[in-house]
Symmetry: C2
Subunit: 266 residues, 2 copies
């Protein structure tokens, strides 16, 4: 279905703007992805937006045409609007902007097929959506199965996380769980839980990684709770040569993931 | 010297607020660092702010007392103000906030003593201040000498970059240069230039790193210019197992830096 919207007070405009806000996103169970590149990543991963929004009279582009075709074929809606309204929706002053609305994916742990990948990333109380998106992107690069978010993390469907994932939100599995639920699920099957830690830890280069390997990093300022570290099968540490004793959480996860990859998939 | 400021229109308030803006920062050659932790990192690295700003009646803290003492001993200024004015300066609604004003460091290449470290990080046209700060933090962790910023990078003295560096802005050397200046400087002495690249590249795990090793990553969306890659002594690549063909620039730099560290300092 094709629509044209001309008024700022149109309910669809309000709906689209509301998706920048977590509260409305959770209520609607929908999220926004912006930019032709990201939307093309989604399409190539088999994820078609329910709704596509762009400016009237936007330049033609073969990738945009493909997107429109697929949205319409799937029974979705293509909305054309003025540049000012588009800027209001996307928060950007770019007449070439295009945005898509997707149904949120199911993020229950039961969707994680642990045997389908050698590496899984796990983040606990990760607060920064940019870090979260970057971890998804890194997961894609190392061939991880996905990212498991423990306790109170940033929203993986926020515009910032989706953007930083560079499309990996559409290819990586994402699960959300509390610690108790996660550890019970993990111990009910095969899997090595590895923490980036400074306590009683092995050198990360010579540690014995075992697939499926769950690599866990902690909150940006507090790190992992001690009890979580104690529940791990392996604690590994990276050299810290400077005056600080920690790395950015997404950096620690990536260095660890590339090391584990070299051991598990040499 | 101790001052109390009560009015929003006080010139010092205007000066402090203006330091959030690059144009004024460059004119004043001063930058802001916020938070007791960051300011303590600075102090412990021998960097004392010229000016310290905090709320009147703020809770006492031994680290804050040490900071005040050192600022006054160095002939600097301690400013107490109301919570509302402080919030205006720091952009945060936190009565415990404290901010310091530092003179910008000299960022000419001539300050880089290449033999003083085995690893140096180099970033070309890095646009995101968070990535820049994260690279400084990673540099501190791997014992790098510093970060060399090529071409048009984000400002290392922006509040965001300083914050993301977690204090490493005070311990890592920072240099800024155009490519021509940099490559002439590099070739006038010892040093291996290594690019993270996908073209004619060696596997990053088995490459022959040599100190002083300059590890270069490119712009977030365009990567490194081909001519820059061609001028390198070594091009290395990391496995890309997913559908994307790139990593976040700070992530790529960190994975490479930890690998080089393991080779150079086993």
């Amino acid at each position: 279905m094709r629509h044209t919207i001309t008024g700022f007070s149109n309910p669809t405009v309000k709906f689209l703007r509301s998706l920048r806000d977590k509260k409305y996103r959770k209520r609607e169970r929908r999220f926004l992805a912006e930019g032709l590149r990201l939307l093309t990543d989604a399409r190539e991963s088999g994820r078609i937006p329910e709704m596509l929004v762009m400016a009237r009279g936007r330049d033609e582009h073969p990738l945009l045409a493909a997107l429109e075709r697929d949205v319409l074929a799937a029974g979705g809606t293509v909305i054309e609007t003025g540049e000012e309204i588009l800027a209001k929706i996307t928060g950007k002053d770019n007449p070439q902007a295009v945005a898509g609305v997707f149904a949120e994916f199911d993020t229950s742990l039961s969707n994680i097929e642990r045997g389908s990948a050698e590496i899984w990333l796990v983040a606990q109380a990760l607060r920064d959506p940019g870090n979260l998106g970057t971890m998804l992107r890194t997961g894609d690069a190392v061939g991880a199965g996905g990212l498991i978010l423990l306790d109170d993390c940033a929203d993986p469907f926020s515009v910032e996380a989706v953007r930083a994932s560079m499309g990996a939100i559409f290819t990586q599995r994402v699960a959300q769980a509390g610690w108790d639920e996660f550890i019970a699920w993990l111990r009910a099957g095969d899997g090595q839980l590895v923490a980036a830690s400074l306590r009683n830890a092995h050198d990360y280069r010579s540690a014995a990684y075992r697939a499926p390997c769950f690599l866990m990093v902690g909150n940006e300022s507090r790190g992992l709770p001690e009890t979580y570290e104690d529940a791990c099968d392996l604690r590994v540490t990276m050299p810290m040569k400077g005056r600080a004793d920690s790395l950015n959480a997404a950096i620690a996860g990536a260095v660890l993931a590339y090391e584990a990859l070299a051991h598990l998939d040499p």
